[in-house]
Symmetry: C2
Subunit: 346 residues, 2 copies
């Protein structure tokens, strides 16, 4: 089968990333007891895949098959599931403890775990869930890790409820967009930030009440005028960086800042103003299998369709790199998906 | 009656604080419906009283009677309470919402509210509670604001439970010591930090399992060796400042850092390491009347006796300033109390 493998040294002239990838032909993995073999139909990219190529992720293992998000058809290991389309819970070792993983937590896409950028994957039976029927293959591929991360950040950590005023920063990324859809679905009043006015406009089409461009230093005042007399119950942030000291003044007492990533800078400042307002700053990473189940149920109930920014058809080096290139430039609005059209590739 | 009044300009030569205080003879206040008149027997100092004199507190009003903590005898306004010893809930405008005050929140000791550094005070009937019978007058005076702040930081925010491993920073202050007593009372394993080995020794006498001197750069390793294979469930911090980036590595997944003040520096850094461990950093300020009631019940049940570091007898300028001097030097281990011995003063 074809698989996208992480390689230590980029070929001469390839300098976009610290590490390179190659598309290799490797054996289809064998199943053991309690496992299923899934013939993957599509996989989606996450920032994690980029961090790994940049050497900025813990536990990097060369020779890993990359990719954490996948959708496919069960072809062996469980008679009931055979021929069913499933999505895969991307994390292993975290059953249900809301505080964090009970065991050693790992995400698909780094050894010793397999990855989804491949034609087949073997995973535990308990890690596959029926793909929501209202989703296309690309939408289903886009759901797992962004949906799980957004679920935990939005509900477990930020406790977003109907009527809340919520700010979601950096709209356009997969987690931010999914958090927007989740929060809108429960009846929250959602505002967004972006450096791109067009992304704000598209977020409003998805149900946001409005948004502000954080490249304009007056963004806090712009947001205040959108909020009127309301203050924010929560902020869902994947950027980190220097905007944090501005947040407490926009928040109500006991507000929650849920941070699921720090793409802008790897730390934030928490001020005495936040303490005086009883603000909580909560770190949020991925989520448990129990949260994954809750998330999939919610997506089914609310007919949520993940936003797909681009689809490349065919597991080729060219397509893999083209999607990486879009992610590196940060212009996407939604998830980047590789569809594996067998007819094209084998 | 005598009262300690905040004055704008220090007398010539008095430079320890930005603002000065004077002991004045002012009229005994009158009660209105729903209020009681309390003849105060003692009052305790808080860092807040020092911040006010340094001009570092919001809403400073010259002419205010200072002091947030008081114990005394009800002398008018409620027949059932008359002649009973009571302590006073120091905050107004916060009934029970765990997120923060429902209304405008104010603490005794700044206009328009009265203060406890006076021989009498008028407060709402609902703000007085029977002083725990096992406490001396000085211990009862030491309880209210430190007890309330420690309660919220320890239980409402950090959710400390039996068997938890808990670090309390800057042991010696009133809130830190009360948090130590609270956490030990529920069966937590408590460790402390201080810059003073003698304070660590005294904390161990109060039930701490051990402590480390944070002036030694190797303090994280010292704490690790005390903890053995255990990691911290929570950290209760009133210092803020540069030690925060060291905390996540000492904590278990989903750990909580509860910050009730920032005496060292008015901000802290929250890192990606904290996000990856699902750590929550929670601001905590004072507490509601409901939390005050819970706290007083707990103090009665567990026979907790606030630690009193020093008592000055008599409401004189000399005594007031002597206690301020001790607080400024930070050498106290517990609360500083002024007892109002009427025979001495009137």
């Amino acid at each position: 089968m074809l698989a996208v493998i992480l390689q230590q040294n980029p070929p001469p002239g390839e300098t976009s990333y610290k590490h390179s990838v190659s598309v290799e032909n490797i054996p289809i993995p064998k199943i053991e007891a309690g496992q299923v073999l899934v013939k993957l139909q599509a996989a989606a990219y996450n920032h994690r895949d980029e961090f790994i190529r940049n050497g900025l992720y813990p536990g990097i293992q060369f020779g890993s098959t990359l990719g954490s998000d996948g959708v496919g058809i069960v072809v062996d290991g469980d008679d009931e599931l055979t021929d069913q389309r499933v999505i895969i819970c991307p994390g292993v070792g975290w059953e249900k403890d809301p505080r964090g993983p009970e065991g050693k937590y790992r995400i698909l896409g780094l050894l010793p775990l397999p990855g989804t950028f491949a034609e087949y994957i073997v995973v535990p039976r308990k890690d596959v869930f029926p793909a929501p029927a209202h989703l296309s293959i690309a939408e289903a591929a886009a759901l797992p890790l962004a949906g799980l991360t957004a679920w935990r950040a939005t509900f477990t950590k930020a406790n977003v409820q109907s009527g809340d005023y919520v700010l979601i920063t950096g709209i356009g990324g997969g987690v931010a967009l999914t958090a927007l859809q989740f929060a809108v679905s429960v009846g929250a009043n959602v505002y967004v930030t972006s450096s791109d006015d067009n992304k704000i406009k598209r977020a409003v089409e998805l149900g946001a009440k409005g948004g502000v461009n954080y490249k304009n230093d007056a963004w806090p005042n712009h947001l205040r005028s959108l909020l009127g007399s309301n203050l924010l119950h929560s902020i869902i942030d994947g950027a980190g960086g220097p905007l944090h000291p501005k947040y407490p003044a926009l928040m109500r007492l006991g507000g929650i800042i849920s941070v699921y990533g720090m793409t802008v800078a790897p730390q934030v400042t928490f001020t005495m103003s936040a303490v005086l307002k009883n603000v909580d700053l909560k770190g949020s990473t991925m989520g448990s299998r129990a949260e994954f189940e809750q998330m999939v149920r919610f997506v089914n109930e609310h007919r949520i369709r993940p936003i797909v920014s681009g689809v490349w058809k065919g597991l080729t080096k060219e397509n893999v790199e083209a999607a990486y290139e879009v992610m590196r430039n940060g212009k996407q609005f939604g998830k980047l998906v590789l569809e594996f059209d067998a007819a094209q590739k084998l």
